[in-house]
């Protein structure tokens, strides 16, 4: 009960007051593109009013069109930047919004934004976990310590920023020794700035004698860049699969449920996901060198333990590393809805019914409604594959391709869900300001082989043509997706 009261207090509501009915809410969709469209569709489904925003570059985007059609008066506002919280707040006040949905990216994991939304004079609901949870789990070190305190396995190494050179060397030495004892051929240690992020200030060390110079370099870099000398030292795991657990809970934070696992191991060279598959492994179809079923249940249990511990009160994803030996390590927690939520939704059945919409569930629980089902009511069926269609050059380091899309068509099928903000009936100029994601294709099959076959059918039927100002033809990752469809869920 106290958790419930806490979050109500955060939102300025007196405890004990029943939440406002759904149709009295208005949600600010503080995002763009495909996710904005999905949020708006879910709102329409739930009967919640919404207000969308767009910038000048996005005027031709599908989400603008949808908002114009379905948003009604005060359904669409133009802003100068999606990053400007002040402007978003002004729009929310103008439109009379009662809640904000951040989508993914932009403000999704910004606890300051969440705090601001819930603590400003004119309070709103932040559709996402409460800001304290975002802050707690958004900090990787904190997450790691929390995990260790609950006995959840994490990557071996330090669990706090190291400021002392001697201590750093001692830890690095023990990480090297540990890997040697594990029989790893080329032990690697990762040195990273604890305040860093987005891949900045990370370096690998393969030679223990080299550690000191790398450590100093990273420390000085962190000092300059992040004003904090703290450094983390971890084992570098090279051969692994990337798994995720989809968790959702209502505002009481007491009964989190999971919607299965996902495997996101097929990534670009920049470690960006390209294909996501649910469930995480297919032990009934494929042979693994470890007990895959056991791993899946373990990571799900660990994730729910942590969610229960922190009183997690919305949608979130626990990201795991699974090594070739079948050891899971917690990597981080994403306190937001993810791009690939649809692939989990498509294999899930609540009370045996299809058509689960995780975003709708998120909005519904975020606005204060109880979840209404338990883990026993959730089942999974079949295999889902999600392809991210992106205009990029896989042969050239996945460089984004910019230009004009002239033709974008595919064959509809009952097992296919296509999510895109790119209009199919008109040419579309890819804006250079945002990430070049064009569409998400979610494919469902009864088993892995059927899903793979349907995926290839879809990719073969896809027509994606265009050219840029230099007259070069559009480059896309369709070929890459085709080539990788065969190896999905293989370790």
């Amino acid at each position: 009960m106290s958790k419930l009261q806490d979050w109500k207090k955060d939102r300025g509501e007196a405890p004990g007051v029943t939440p406002v009915a759904l149709h009295e809410h208005r949600i600010l969709v503080a995002n763009r593109g495909e996710i904005a469209m999905r949020i708006m569709r879910s709102c329409i489904k739930l009967g919640v009013a919404f207000t969308a925003v767009y910038t000048a570059e996005d005027a031709a985007s599908g989400h603008v069109r949808l908002a114009r059609e379905k948003g009604g008066e005060k359904g669409l506002f133009r802003v100068s930047s999606y990053h400007d919280a002040n402007e978003l707040m002004a729009v929310a006040d103008e439109a009379g919004c009662t809640a904000v949905h951040p989508g993914y990216g932009f403000f999704a994991e910004d606890f300051r934004f969440a705090r601001r939304v819930t603590k400003r004079d004119r309070k709103m609901i932040f559709i996402g976990p409460s800001w304290k949870i975002i802050r707690e789990l958004g900090d990787k070190i904190n997450t790691k310590r929390l995990a260790r305190s609950l006995g959840v396995p994490t990557v071996p190494g330090s669990d706090r920023p190291i400021y002392d050179e001697l201590e750093a060397e001692r830890i690095a030495k023990s990480v090297f020794d540990f890997q040697e004892q594990q029989g790893i051929q080329r032990p690697l240690v990762l040195v990273k700035a604890s305040a860093g992020g987005g891949g900045m200030g990370i370096e690998e060390v393969y030679d223990p004698d080299q550690f000191r110079s790398v450590y100093r370099r990273i420390r000085n870099y962190a000092m300059r860049q992040f004003k904090d000398e703290g450094v983390l030292i971890e084992q570098r795991i090279t051969d692994f699969n990337h798994l995720e657990v989809q968790v959702i809970s209502d505002r009481s934070g007491r009964n989190p449920v999971h919607f299965g696992t996902r495997n996101c191991s097929i990534q670009s060279t920049g470690l960006q996901k390209r294909v996501e598959i649910a469930p995480g492994f297919a032990p009934e179809t494929l042979e693994y060198s470890f007990n895959a079923e056991r791993v899946l249940t373990d990571i799900v249990d660990y994730s729910l333990t942590m969610a229960r511990k922190v009183g997690y009160d919305n949608v979130g994803t626990w990201e795991w590393i699974v090594t070739r030996k079948g050891e899971p390590f917690l990597m981080e927690v994403n306190t937001r809805i993810q791009v690939e939520n649809g692939v989990s939704a498509c294999i899930s059945r609540v009370h045996g019914r299809e058509g689960v919409d995780l975003i709708a569930e998120q909005i519904r629980t975020g606005l204060g409604q109880p979840l209404g089902y338990t883990q026993e009511d959730i089942a999974t069926e079949g295999v889902g594959i999600e392809y991210r269609l992106i205009a990029e050059d896989p042969d050239n380091n996945f460089t984004p391709w910019v230009g004009r899309i002239e033709r974008f068509a595919w064959e509809e099928a009952p097992w296919l869900t296509m999510l895109t903000h790119v209009p199919c009936d008109a040419p579309y100029e890819i804006p250079t300001e945002f990430d070049p994601n064009l569409a998400l294709a979610i494919i469902w099959g009864r088993d892995l082989h059927e899903a793979q076959a349907r995926g290839l059918t879809f990719l073969n039927s896809l027509r994606l043509e265009g050219s840029n100002n230099a007259g070069e033809a559009l480059k896309s990752n369709v070929g890459f997706l085709k080539a990788n469809t065969g190896r999905i869920l293989h370790f």
Binding site: A85, R115, R120, I141, R148, P156, R160, Q181
Partner: protein, 751 residues
């Protein structure tokens, strides 16, 4: 017309214009009378209508003298200001030519000089004892106004002029000759160069606080920083028509009347300020900031007042002699010698005494000078400490002194030797033990089944001890402004494109720092007190010393009371003992919220007390400048005397082995910066602070030049060499600790 008559008529004309100028329209009847009589005489003399022109002109001169004597009685302070600024006023060259027997100008000649405003000369004074004559050298240093010479810049000295003065003071110290400083300056030239004005003045004052030769200063026009740059003297004489003040009356009026750019203060207001700032020689003598007044002829000395120069010569010789005598150890002989020189009819030219000093006498001279300045201006601050507190403090000090001497001068020294010896012994023992045990170790490593694997796994996956808790707020104290629900615009947003910041984020989590460009919004002093130092370690002392209104400046008491009410502290300087991770220190904090952080008698008193406390306890001493606008002008000379006074305290502290550090935040300007803050060898600033001598408005007013933007930014101060580093506000604690550990020695006191 006789040529002699013409000359005398001309000189009378000069006297008349002088009289008219200095009274600026007052006493017009007297001036008109003189003008009429002079015109009538000139008319008649031109046509040779006079029987005895010499007798007539003598009577006319008598009339002039009579009127001048009459008007002398009704001179106001503002008239004195006009007197010292008049082109006919005596200047340093006149004094050199008439007071000294011979001189050679060094460090430049006329306009061909590093700074023509600063004149330096080696001069000699010849004195006789019986039939023998003795020639004594002195170093004469002073500002030269010239008689309206443009290139002299009105005696406003640039930083390099002050550097030149300091250089020749050092020369005089090497040669062991006394220094005579003549102060004829309206103020220093407020330019930030290499070095900046404040920086150089601070060096000068710090240098003069330790000079080992007698220094005699003669003040004619003593304007604030420029005067202090050469004014820290054993004896300070003052010409009776001079003024000595913290700021020119016009400047005071501009500040008092809150004059905006382009406007001018009314003459009444200027007159009012001149009167209440108590800038005259008589006032300063009463306060004790000068030692003696040199009487000038009626309406001020001009170059033809040769008797004045004779008098001045006697006075400077007497002052120098007295300084020399004061270093003697025999009290009886000392008083006899002093009384001989103080007799009214004593002719100092006939009394010879050497001006050289022995090494121990030089030490005593220095000590006397420092003590003299430390004693000044105590009466100007209201010390509200209860009697028993003061007694108890004094008693505790008396008790603790032998203990501290034992601890620092004896025990620590030997402890250090002991420790280094023990380290060597233990190192040798380790080596020996390893040799002894190595065969066994080699054997045991090869044994199978060593449970190191599990141990390593445990070590790498178990929780390590960590005191930092990420969930708690980083700050112990949060500015009350964090409650405002509105956004603030960063001043740099135009150039760096910073997004507006939400108040609760900015003032709580970001510590008032723009998250995009690092601009520092000003924070309250409490923020620093509670966040920089260990929780609960701050112990304030001397909080009962109150800022007051020593000059009874009109309406000022109410304003001080208002500031006290607003900030809840009694003066603009908070002195406390505090710790950073257990490192103890004494801190004097100038608070920008209390009347702009201006320094008056109470602030100076507390600063000096804090420095002395740090020296006594062997703690590092930190001057934390939350903000200072300069010397508090409403306290007049009580304020300006804090510059040499606090610098003396700082110098004594540093020379006793202490570590004195200064940290600037927000805006730090003028007097304090040009003395006790600017003289520290270790000065740091947080970003976005402004450091300089005078603000843009004052520079525009005094020099007529438009300063470039960001003229006073801390980065500029860094490139001028004024400060040693720029810190981020969020890093102050860590940087301060690191600086203390690296700059301070083993016990953070003795370097």
């Amino acid at each position: 017309m006789d040529n002699n008559i013409a000359k005398r008529i001309q000189s009378l004309r000069d006297r008349l214009t002088y009289l008219q100028d200095i009274f600026a329209g007052k006493h017009a009847d007297n001036a008109n009378l003189l003008e009429e009589r002079l015109a009538a005489f000139t008319e008649r003399a031109r046509w040779a209508q006079l029987d005895d022109p010499y007798a007539d002109i003598a009577s006319l001169e008598d009339l002039f003298a009579y009127v001048e004597r009459r008007l002398e009685d009704c001179i106001t302070p503002m008239d004195k200001v006009r007197i010292v600024r008049h082109p006919q006023r005596v200047c340093l060259r006149d004094i050199l030519e008439n007071v000294y027997d011979n001189f050679t100008e060094v460090g430049g000649q006329d306009e061909h000089s590093l700074d023509p405003g600063m004149l330096i000369a080696r001069a000699v004074i010849t004195r006789r004892s019986g039939k023998k004559s003795h020639t004594q050298s002195v170093m004469v240093i002073g500002q030269e106004k010239g008689h309206g010479a443009e290139f002299r810049n009105g005696g406003s000295v640039k930083p390099w002029g002050n550097a030149k003065a300091l250089q020749y003071m050092r020369v005089a110290e090497t040669e062991g000759i006394p220094i005579h400083a003549y102060i004829f300056t309206p103020g220093s030239y407020p330019i930030e160069d290499y070095p900046g004005a404040a920086q150089q003045i601070a060096r000068n004052i710090y240098g003069m606080a330790g000079l080992r030769v007698p220094v005699v200063a003669v003040i004619s026009e003593g304007g604030s920083g420029g005067a202090e740059a050469i004014g820290l003297a054993d004896k300070r004489l003052m010409l009776s028509h001079g003024y000595y003040s913290v700021i020119s009356p016009e400047g005071a009026a501009a500040i008092e009347g809150r004059i905006k750019e382009g406007e001018r203060a009314t003459p009444e207001l200027i007159e009012h300020c001149a009167e209440h700032l108590r800038i005259t020689a008589q006032d300063n003598l009463a306060f004790g900031y000068i030692d003696r007044i040199v009487q000038e002829p009626p309406l001020g000395a001009r170059p033809w007042h040769f008797d004045f120069f004779r008098h001045l010569r006697q006075e400077v010789i007497r002052a120098t002699d007295e300084v020399i005598i004061s270093t003697r150890r025999m009290p009886l002989l000392k008083s006899i010698a002093l009384s001989r020189r103080r007799k009214a009819d004593a002719n100092l030219d006939e009394m010879h005494m050497g001006w050289g000093l022995s090494a121990s006498a030089k030490e005593r001279l220095r000590e006397r000078r420092q003590q003299k300045f430390l004693r000044l201006s105590r009466q100007a601050a209201c010390d509200r400490r209860p009697f028993w507190t003061k007694t108890a403090t004094a008693f505790c000090d008396w008790l603790a002194k032998p203990w501290r001497t034992f601890k620092y001068d004896f025990y620590r020294k030997h402890q250090r030797q002991m420790r280094s010896m023990m380290e060597e012994v233990s190192n040798e023992w380790d080596l020996f033990r390893n040799r002894l045990l190595s065969p066994w170790r080699r054997l045991s490593h090869k044994l199978p089944g060593r449970a190191e694997n599990a141990q390593a796994q445990l070590e790498l996956t178990a929780l390590s001890a960590w005191s930092g808790d990420g969930r708690k707020s980083k700050w112990n104290y949060i500015s009350p402004r964090f409650k405002i629900d509105r956004t603030l615009t960063c001043p740099n947003s135009a150039s760096y494109g910073c997004l507006d910041l939400w108040g609760p984020d900015l003032f709580a989590e970001f510590a008032g720092v723009c998250s995009h460009c690092g601009y520092h919004f000003p924070m309250e002093p409490e923020w620093y007190v509670k966040n920089v130092f260990d929780v609960g370690s701050v112990f304030e002392f001397n909080s009962e010393i109150e800022a007051g209104n020593p000059l009874d400046f009109p309406d000022f008491s109410a304003r001080v009371a208002e500031a006290q009410q607003k900030t809840g502290s009694k003066s603009g300087c908070m002195t406390f003992e505090a710790r950073i991770d257990g490192i103890k220190m004494v801190v004097a904090m100038l608070m920008g919220t209390f009347r702009g952080g201006s320094v008056g008698a109470a602030e100076g008193y507390k600063f000096v007390e804090a420095a002395q406390r740090a020296a006594k306890k062997r703690y590092p001493f930190l001057a934390y400048v939350h903000g200072t606008a300069g010397i508090r002008i409403q306290e007049g000379t009580h304020g300006v005397i804090q510059m040499p006074r606090c610098t003396v305290a700082v110098r004594r502290y540093i020379e006793s082995g202490g570590l004195y550090m200064v940290l600037y935040d927000t805006n730090s300007f003028a007097g304090p910066l040009a003395s006790f803050l600017g003289c520290s060898p270790y000065q740091f600033a947080v970003r976005s602070s402004n450091i300089g001598f005078a603000g843009p408005g004052v520079i525009k007013e005094t020099t007529g030049m438009d300063i470039p933007p960001k003229y006073h930014r801390s980065y500029r101060a860094l490139s001028r060499g004024h400060i040693q580093g720029i810190w981020d506000r969020r890093q102050i604690r860590a940087n301060l600790k690191q600086a203390l550990l690296t700059i301070g020695g083993r016990n953070l006191y003795y370097r």
